[in-house]
Amino acid sequence: MIEIELFQKIFLAVGLLIAVTILLCIYRAVVGPGVFNVVVAVNVIGTKTIALLVLIGYYFERPMFFDIALLYAMLNFIGTLIFAKYLERGEVCSR
């Protein structure tokens, strides 16, 4: 079908544009003054990676990438929360 090929091209273009935004965020993750800017940039990159994983699942027509995207969303969220707790209190698990 012609429409499927059209959508393949659209998905490739959207994935490349999201990759460009990830490159823009990597600048802040490397240069950013202070540890908080680095954590924010890594969180943003993780959130964009979720959309990129779903797009990869449609581009290569492999539905298992959606499960990977769900798992990655949870890991990103928990990682950011633990980092915020560590930066706030100086320890992760207090007794």
Partner: protein
């Protein structure tokens, strides 16, 4: 007609992602950067996945379980991303990061 809707939603999502990235690069302070990314990123990723959900709903309508998965992904992002932003902002405020005022240097 369907292609137009899907392309419009995807383009809107990519636009919001670009706005969030430019805000992360160009704002002068930690809190303002958080302000830029916390909203634009949630909306952008949600719109991109919503466009793919509409595409899936019309072209592969025999596997509706994947649509439910993507819907749960959107809901989880809508809940989790503002929560992470709030936790980071609270941690920065308690450890003494001073907010930026007009006339200060870029930090």
């Amino acid at each position: 007609m369907l292609e137009v809707i899907v392309i419009l939603v995807l383009a809107l999502g990519v636009f919001f992602l670009f706005v969030g990235a430019i805000g992360l690069l160009r704002f002068p302070d930690f809190y303002t950067r958080l302000h830029a990314t916390g909203k634009c990123d949630t909306l952008g990723v949600g719109l991109v996945i919503l466009g793919l959900l509409i595409y899936h709903l019309f072209y592969y309508s025999d596997t509706l379980l994947v649509c439910v998965k993507l819907l749960f992904l959107i809901l989880f992002i809508l809940i989790s991303n503002p929560t992470a932003t709030y936790a980071l902002m609270k941690a920065a405020y308690k450890t003494g990061v001073v907010p930026w005022k007009l006339g200060d240097e870029r930090r």
